[in-house]
Amino acid sequence: MQAIKSIRSRTVNMPAKDIDTDQIIPARFLTTTSREGLGDNLFHDLRFEADGAPKPDFELNRPEAQGCEILVAGNNLGCGSSREHAPWALLDYGIRAVISTEIADIFRSNSLKNGLLAVVVDEETHGWLLAHPGSELEIDVVQSTLTLPDGRVVSYPIDAFARYCLIEGIDQLGYLRQNLDAIASFEESRP
């Protein structure tokens, strides 16, 4: 994984709560055997009409959303299935960070393993972000902080190991494999 120390971009808002992974990438697009190209179908049924034309009202289709790499979503983002296709689709589309007041466990874990920053903020900051779409933010992974356009700095919680892997570009499988001896002796010690 590529190291990520910070991200700077404008935000696009999807204030709906409980955006589930079936919304992010509907199941019928999961028959792929690769990670590429999933961005084309990101939020497919919210984003496109039945004839394939983009829905003009959908948040990501608006002109001001173009090029925004930070998605601010309602509470409990990414609930539902464990499909890693959800963060793959977001990344493939060009989203590099998601922000919410709560992010579902499996989606959050999947996101961080792929270098999609999953940032949980307090209600007040979240409210401010929702009220100010298109804000230019800086998300600093090293400091675990978010800098708002007015200069306010808000810190966010992130697991120390996930943070370390992000900023150093650590491959977690490589890290796990350093424990192969311990794993082998664990296996031997059991019935």
Partner: protein, 467 residues
């Protein structure tokens, strides 16, 4: 220190303990894999030239993208499209190349991964079980620590048989009293999710406890644990007891002979200590419950069958959900006409589920204009149901009896509902579009689903019960 069931299982599997800076290395006893969430993990292994560390601890099947119309050859797979057929072929290649036994099309043991694990006796108390699938929580019904993982983690387990994990918090859900007639495990778990909310269990492992849980058979316990993820919890567990051991005795992959005796002793010791502490707890009175149905677009939006849909008009998400569902505040869900009834999925596709539905359908007909699909959870369930004549009950009532698989639970295998159609479904997710673009899903128990099929509108199953 007194320990909960979860803590005992967790502690027995820690290879390297967690620290402030690093997660624990947790050993995985059983890795279940299916065709949808594994291809990219096998690609990773190939890229790095790594073998699968323990093919003997890996159990593979195909369920998600497989059609539930009879499949006699790979040519039939074209039914669901080229990419699904390709995914299924890739699964065969991956398993062959990495030495993993695959319960494929020709296997009589094929089925939904969360149905076959227990059925084969591979799911056992005290095991750590993972799968690239969020409903892995189902296996917790046996006192296993079982949870869903992403594809990157599938790769980790294939390569090392371990995962990097932070220890989650614990939530006790105490269900006292007994469930009234016509109210089942599905109604209970829907009521629990309604109470704690779809994010109530985030960061937690749930342990279901109390009189009503102890009284349940294993299939009902699986239904409860299955939907832990709908309450935000990655895992749900139930302490193993005689009901568990009776279920497992004599199954193909269960221990046998002297090993069985020592295993049962070990399993009994897994129960949480009396004074073990949970981070949080919730109490539920089983006796007060009714048949439950969802009215919105997440499983927490749920009401009693005869209760009015609540007023949430102040909340834009709530209004949007009701608009999508074409449901009105203040009226009970029983006003709504039904287009499709789906009995199946890893939540409710086992023998007892099919029996409950058949008991209501026997001697009755599916209402005109209603399509009813009955999809057994596995080929074994299918054969057992056929041996008991349930297929004939369903057929006589006018329902479709199909091959096993995930089917209309997620609509990626050719089984879908049309836009605007209302499906009463025994599955676990009523998300927008889950069962087809624009499809409206009402989650319910097998009894409620069967009663609704007969009535043509969403129906309370209780008047349909025969003593």
């Amino acid at each position: 220190m007194p320990q909960t069931l979860f803590e005992k299982v967790w502690n027995q599997h820690v290879v390297v303990p967690e620290t402030a800076d690093t997660p624990a290395v947790l050993y995985i006893d059983l890795h279940l894999i299916h065709e949808v969430t594994t291809p990219q993990a096998f690609s990773l292994l190939r890229e790095r030239g790594l073998p699968v560390r323990r093919p003997d601890r890996t159990l593979a099947t195909m369920d998600h993208s497989t059609p539930t119309t009879p499949v006699n050859s790979f040519k039939d797979l074209a039914i669901v499209g080229d990419s699904a057929a390709n995914q299924i072929r890739q699964m065969e290649i991956n398993c062959r190349e990495f030495g993993i036994d695959l319960l494929g099309f020709d296997s009589e043991q094929r089925g939904i991964v969360h149905v076959i694990g227990p059925e084969l006796g591979a799911t056992q108390p005290g095991k750590t079980i993972v799968c690239g699938d969020s409903h892995t929580s189902t296996h917790g019904a046996f006192g296993a620590l079982a949870f869903g993982i992403g594809t990157t983690e599938v790769g980790h387990v294939l390569a090392t048989q371990c995962l990097l994990q932070r220890k989650p918090k614990t939530l006790a859900i105490n269900v006292e009293g007994s469930l009234p007639a016509g109210v089942g495990a599905k109604d209970l778990i829907l009521a629990i999710i309604g109470q704690i909310g779809v994010d109530g269990g985030t960061g937690h492992v749930i342990e279901y406890r109390g009189e009503a849980i102890r009284a349940m058979d294993m299939e009902a316990r699986m239904t409860v644990c299955n939907m832990s993820i709908e309450g935000g919890a990655r895992a749900g567990m139930i302490a193993p007891d005689d009901t568990t051991f009776e279920y497992l005795a004599g199954r193909e992959r269960s221990p046998s002979g002297a090993e069985w005796t020592t295993a049962v002793e070990r399993w009994r010791a897994l129960c949480g200590d009396d004074d073990a502490r949970f981070d949080n707890s919730v109490d539920i009175d089983a006796g007060a419950l009714k048949p439950m149905v969802t009215f919105g677009t997440n499983p927490g939006m749920v009401v009693g069958i005869d209760e009015p849909v609540p007023d949430g008009s102040g909340d834009s998400n709530f209004r949007k959900a009701l608009d999508y569902m074409q449901v009105e505040t203040g009226k009970p869900m029983t006003e709504n006409a039904v287009d499709i009834v789906f009995i199946g999925s890893c939540t409710n596709s086992r023998m007892s589920d099919l029996e409950q539905a058949a008991a209501i359908l026997e001697g009755r007909r599916v209402a005109d204009g209603v399509r009813m699909l009955v999809v057994p959870g596995s080929q074994q369930v299918k054969h057992e149901a056929e041996a008991k004549g349930l297929d004939r009950v369903f057929a006589a009532a006018g329902a479709e009896w199909r091959e096993s698989g995930c089917s209309m639970c997620l609509g990626m295998n050719g089984d879908t509902a049309g836009s605007g159609q209302l499906t009463v479904s025994t599955s676990n997710r009523n998300f927008e579009g889950r069962q087809g673009v624009g499809a409206r899903t009402v989650l319910a128990s097998p009894a409620t689903a069967a009663a609704s099929a007969v009535h043509g509108r969403i129906a309370d199953p209780r008047p349909y019960l025969r003593s």
